[in-house]
């Protein structure tokens, strides 16, 4: 009983704090939080783009997305540690490497395990993520690592807020990658084939498209997004074997919020979640702020499973 009362008092205190913050500090605190959320949201969007592409074409939910991102972050870290390669330059190595990894993973394991049930794919990707995560724990230990660059702490004054330079670079680069991806999907032969397979698998096969190849290509491109995201992320972030957990539920939330398979949805969803997390952390504290993401996820799945932009449930 006593502890219940304490909790209620704690909640009252927190609510009072929110009132104080909003009335006293107003925009001076909220605007930087929003800007901060937007820059982080761009990374979420990039991670979610890969997931939504894989979902849109293969109609599978890739549970290993978070742990593949973790692997990419380790790639950036070790390229920097061993050969001194700048995280942004590492993109030339990691994006193709993760494309190949994704292609092989889909072609050799995930594509052959479905047996016609989407839950089976979920289970296999879960298994893959468990293996990757625990191998990372085995080889790299549970330590949290980060890279040091000359620009890690450079701040840029945007007028409304001070933003770390790497965050700004990540923001712009994520948009550029998203745009590039959109151009490829809309205007290349590969993109047309991908869209054809996404819309009508059998029809695509009948007109001579190698569906298994397109599946693997889509999975590869989706995974390559993670290679790019890792390079943009690491200068202001850290890597540990469980870092994928931070992103996996967020990425799912972004994807369902934006609409499964929708590119503009993933972008907008990324920004919304980035800002929500930032404001939630500001008002409710770090640990309770995370709950907002899960609640949004549940609410969207229940009440609007097609998301903001999605056509199919």
């Amino acid at each position: 009983m006593e502890s219940c009362a304490k909790t209620a008092a704690g909640l009252g205190y927190r609510l009072a704090t929110i009132g104080v913050i909003t009335s006293m500090f107003d925009l001076a605190i909220i605007l930087p939080a929003i800007v901060n959320g937007l820059t982080f949201g761009a990374i979420y969007a990039l991670v979610a783009l890969g997931l939504t592409l894989i979902y849109g074409v293969l109609h599978i939910i890739n549970f290993a997305h978070g742990s593949l991102l973790m692997l990419a972050l380790y790639g950036v870290f070790f390229l920097n540690r061993i050969w001194g390669i700048d995280p942004y330059l590492a993109i030339v190595v990691l994006a193709p490497a993760f494309f190949a990894l994704g292609y092989v993973l889909q072609w050799s394991i995930i594509g052959r395990a479905g047996h016609g049930k989407d839950q089976n794919v979920l289970l296999v990707t879960l298994g893959v993520s468990i293996v990757i995560e625990n191998l990372a724990l085995y080889f790299f230990s549970a330590d949290t690592r980060a890279v040091d660059t000359a620009y890690t702490f450079v701040m840029v004054d945007l007028g409304v807020a001070l933003v770390p330079l790497p965050r700004l670079i990540a923001f712009v680069a994520s948009l550029v990658v998203a745009l590039g991806l959109w151009v490829v999907i809309q205007h290349s032969d590969l993109g047309r084939a991908i869209r054809a397979v996404a819309k009508e698998r059998q029809g695509a096969q009948l007109v001579g498209i190698d569906v298994d190849h397109i599946f693997a290509m889509s999975f590869g491109i989706g995974t390559a997004c993670l290679g790019a995201a890792a390079c943009l992320l690491l200068p202001t972030f850290y890597v540990s074997p469980t870092v994928g957990h931070v992103f996996v539920l967020v990425a799912f939330t972004v994807v369902v919020l934006g609409g499964m398979g929708s590119f503009p949805g993933a972008l907008l969803g990324g920004f919304i979640i980035g800002v929500t997390e930032s404001l939630g952390g500001l008002f409710l504290g770090e640990s309770l702020g995370q709950i907002g993401i899960s609640l949004i996820f549940i609410a969207v799945l229940l009440f609007r499973p097609t998301g903001l932009f999605g056509g199919r449930a």
Partner: protein, 323 residues
């Protein structure tokens, strides 16, 4: 005749195990096997029979563990009675999640993901509120007495775990024979067709998730009493969810004996990995993950399915040989 004899022999061995096994370690191993066989069977009710895969069974496990522990520590309720409240808590959480998910028509992967999200919400809440002990966790005071569901030797816990497993086998046998079990299987195979036949899929799935949740809740309460400690990461973290769902998938989905077999193989593989490679963190989980991939890829019917397939092959070979 043979079947009854085998069942009787296995039962006798199971009852005599604490007298035959001198080592506390191996008795502890058996307790873990039985506990996860029991919770795997609970998952199987919903996932195997009704075809609704849950990725967040920790939510029921944690609800049961915290309910019995808090009632015991804060209000001094007897843990045996706490087991009943744990079942109510697990069933209640199941009713909440099931009502929302099934009312809004979530299926397949979406249902799996929403259970995961619910477990995450509960984990964060358990970390935040004070009556759970927050991130520090909850210690159950040591008062060794069978009336407190605390035993001086592992044998006591063993018999409780054995009783739970036998109860779960009885539930599985009932599902195999009853009309309700047949309805669940019909929903699993084709929900639209099942509804066209007049089966109330919503009510059936709701009952299945409540039964599954209640069973898992009791498992969580037993776990808390066995280790005398619980924290949000153990109770609601993804590790328990994964370990529970692996059991029936490896043993055989929607079969009565699958979870028992799966749990024995899983815990055995984990223990073997520890023996061979040393006690390295995460290594047993690497094997669990590999097992999961290999099973779904090559043996989607589990080990029970493999046995059935071998039996068919042998019978066919015998028919050919006779002819």
């Amino acid at each position: 005749m043979l079947r009854a004899a085998v069942t009787g022999a296995v039962m006798a061995a199971a009852l005599a195990a604490p007298f035959l096994i001198a080592s506390d370690f191996w008795l502890g191993f058996l307790i873990t096997v039985l506990l996860f066989a029991y919770m795997g069977m609970a998952w199987n009710v919903l996932g195997g029979y009704a075809g609704q895969f849950s990725f967040g069974h920790a939510v029921f496990f944690g609800a049961g563990a915290y309910t019995s522990s808090i009632l015991h520590v804060t209000f001094g309720l007897n843990p045996w009675i706490g087991l009943a409240f744990a079942a109510l808590a697990g069933g209640g959480v199941g009713a909440l999640i099931g009502f929302l998910s099934f009312r809004f028509g979530l299926r397949g992967s979406y249902f799996a993901l929403i259970t995961l999200a619910f477990a995450e919400v509960f984990r964060i809440l358990a970390n935040w509120v004070e009556f759970t002990g927050g991130g520090v966790g909850l210690y159950i005071p040591l008062k060794v007495h069978p009336a407190n569901l605390q035993f001086g030797t592992k044998a006591g816990y063993y018999y409780v775990a054995l009783a739970l497993t036998l109860a779960s086998l009885a539930i599985a046998a009932w599902l195999e024979r009853s009309r309700f079990g047949a309805w669940l299987k019909a929903i699993r195979e084709n929900e639209d067709a099942a509804r066209a036949l007049g089966i109330d899929a919503f009510v059936c799935k709701l009952k299945a998730i409540m039964l599954s949740g209640a069973m898992t809740g009791v498992g969580g309460a037993f776990y808390a009493q066995y280790y005398l400690y619980i924290d949000p990461g153990i109770a609601f973290g993804p590790a328990v969810s994964v370990e529970i769902l692996l059991v029936p998938i490896i043993g055989g989905l929607g079969t009565a004996l699958g979870p028992l077999l799966g749990s024995a193989v899983l815990q055995g593989a984990g223990e073997l990995a520890r023996r061979v490679m040393g006690d390295v963190p995460g290594l047993n989980l690497v094997f669990y993950g590999l097992l999961l991939v290999v099973m779904v890829r090559f043996l989607p019917d589990g080990l029970i399915g493999l046995a059935a397939r071998l039996r068919t092959l042998r019978r066919r070979a015998k028919v050919l040989a006779d002819a």
